[in-house]
Amino acid sequence: MSYKYVIGPLHPALEEPIKFEFSVNGEEIEDVKVSVSHVHRGIEILGTKRNVIRTLYLAERICGICSAAHAFTFCICVEKACNINIGEREHAIRCIIAELERIHSHLLWAALFMHKMGFETMFHYILLFRENIMDTLEAISGNRVNYGMFTIGGVRKDVKERIILDSIKFIRKKIGFIKDGILKNKIVKKRCINVGILEKEKALKLCSVGPTARASGIDRDIRRSFKYSFYENIEIDPIVCDEGDVYARIIVRLEEVEQSLNILNKIVKNIPKGNIKKVKVPSILNIIKSIDSESVARIEAPRGELLHYVNLKCSENLYTWKVRTPTYNNIMAYTEMFRGAEIADAPIILASIDPCLSCTNRMIVKK
């Protein structure tokens, strides 16, 4: 006999507005219905009712975890439309913020994933180590969540390289502990290996992005394939796992933290000396007012490919603004992953793609 088991829109396993209706037989999941759009934030409409500089800060507030990624993409997008060029040091500072954000996002994911698995001690330790990255970001930008570092035509604050090097040293020491604690744990292995499998062909068909795709054997990284900003000067190695299960996703994300540390090291070594250029907002707005153009930009956010589209029509406000977040692509993969799983696996499969549904639900309207 099968019965319904519902996760969400409010559930301790997933504190995000999404609803899963599982048809369960005993402990085994037979079918799943996913319904998103329990929240409509209307951010894109809001963004067209204020000038572009103010919209940038709105873009930063789409997500609380990958806030810099949204601001980064929005800046690249508007700069492309208006042909604004920025200096190398500004590019490097942008990438530093993006990589620091990737590290803290992945560590937060690892912590929450452990919490969902019931590994409370690791949860507390990872959050303790993550605090160092948050402090570094605060030391650089003055903020802990929405950094306010980006502006169209440059960055708002300069960085001191020493702070970043100290942080790299600290996290490099701790990441070994985290990796050993998670990946060598027998119960973690038992619960994650061969659970929530997303095969390579399915992942390609369902357009998975980011670490979810890379764990399924697809080498899809915007930093490598469509180089942008300061990443043009840096060689990035691919991190790909072929298994496609939850364990592979853990490996990919934890390896990416180490990779980000290496990238940060390279950026700090190659960063051009000098001062950043001060951006004059009225002159930027003047340029924007004279532009009739559209553009698309995409970057590799912590969760995968993030896409912004803007359309400017000779006004300081945007005419159209469209955002596609990585979770929007990855949600499709859920139905494939849940096939044959058990109820005990449901929370960890849910968490394994690192969903950020407040970002995603921003734009879908359910009829």
Binding site: K4, Y5, G118
Partner: protein, 299 residues
């Protein structure tokens, strides 16, 4: 007699506070006060109880029944290093020990919601998994002592006179610690109450007074289980020294079986659990019993 029972109830709730404090320290947190469970229970007792519309009529009766069963259990268990208030059969004690679990399952089924019924399924699976090794142990003990009486059984278990039996007793204690930690529902084995999977499972529909009564009942049951195991380990010494040794052993057993696993393991899956218990733990308990009995017959 009444003061002994009251002290036992206080000690039982105190153990939970100790657990929360020690686990917090192991996780790098400051943690709550040790008397926090008392504060929680006092707060819960003042709160309104919400009864779901789908619940059956016995829903609000079960907490009180469970608590009274648990308190009755204290009369049959030798606590504080002394003999039990009522000397009785070990079979009865085993039955009494599993009654709170069965009532919990009944409560979950009575609340008639999905999360609770999944919790109830898991609880039943765990009950079966743990009962089998326990019954093996009790049967072998009664075989050795030709009696089901608790104090007689204890006397027969304490024979360390030959090396094979001694090794068997060590193995048995190891098995019992695993069984105990799954009975305590501490972390690797808290599947029936898995917060992040089925939202507190068995007790997800209980609130206010009902929840408070259940919390006290479960604490008392855990305490009596540990007390019973400690009683079998205690040598025959004076009352005061056996009380000191009892306190030490209770704390040690609780830390080893309840607190350390809670801090170092993630939650298991229910099929892994039944695999572990029905195959490995049962086998281990069988081996240890063969060693104990064989050693006694051999020498």
């Amino acid at each position: 007699m009444i003061s002994k029972i009251v002290l036992a109830i206080i000690a039982a709730i105190f153990l939970t506070g100790l657990k929360r404090k020690i686990v917090a320290r192991m996780q790098g947190r400051i943690g709550p006060k040790i008397i926090q469970p008392f504060i929680d229970i006092a707060k819960l007792l003042q709160k309104e109880s919400v009864v779901p519309r789908t619940a059956s009529s016995i829903f609000s009766l079960i907490p009180a029944i469970t608590l009274s069963c648990s308190i009755t259990l204290l009369f049959f268990i030798p606590i504080f290093g002394d003999n039990a208030i009522i000397e009785t059969d070990i079979i009865l004690v085993l039955y009494m020990l599993s009654i709170p679990s069965i009532l919990l399952v009944l409560a979950a089924i009575a609340s008639n919601t999905n999360y609770s019924s999944i919790g109830a399924q898991r609880e039943i699976i765990m009950l079966i998994g743990i009962e089998i090794p326990l019954i093996f142990i009790v049967l072998s003990a009664s075989f050795l002592s030709n009696s089901f009486n608790v104090s007689m059984v204890k006397a027969s278990f304490l024979g360390f006179e030959n090396p094979i039996s001694f090794f068997g007793v060590l193995l048995l204690i190891f098995t019992l610690i695993i069984a105990l930690s799954s009975e305590l529902k501490s972390l690797p084995f808290d599947m029936p109450e898995a917060g992040t999977e089925i939202g507190a499972g068995l007790l997800s529909e209980y609130s206010g007074t009902g929840l408070a009564l259940f919390k006290i009942a479960i604490d008392i049951r855990n305490f009596s289980l540990i007390s019973l195991l400690v009683y079998f380990m205690l040598p025959n010494i004076g009352l005061i020294s056996s009380f000191i040794l009892y306190t030490f052993l209770v704390l040690l057993l609780y830390i080893v079986s309840g607190i350390i696993p809670h801090a170092i393991f993630p939650r298991m899956r229910i099929d892994d659990f039944s695999n572990l218990f029905l195959k490995h733990v049962t086998l281990l308990s069988l081996i240890s019993i063969v060693l104990i009995i064989g050693g006694k017959i051999w020498f």
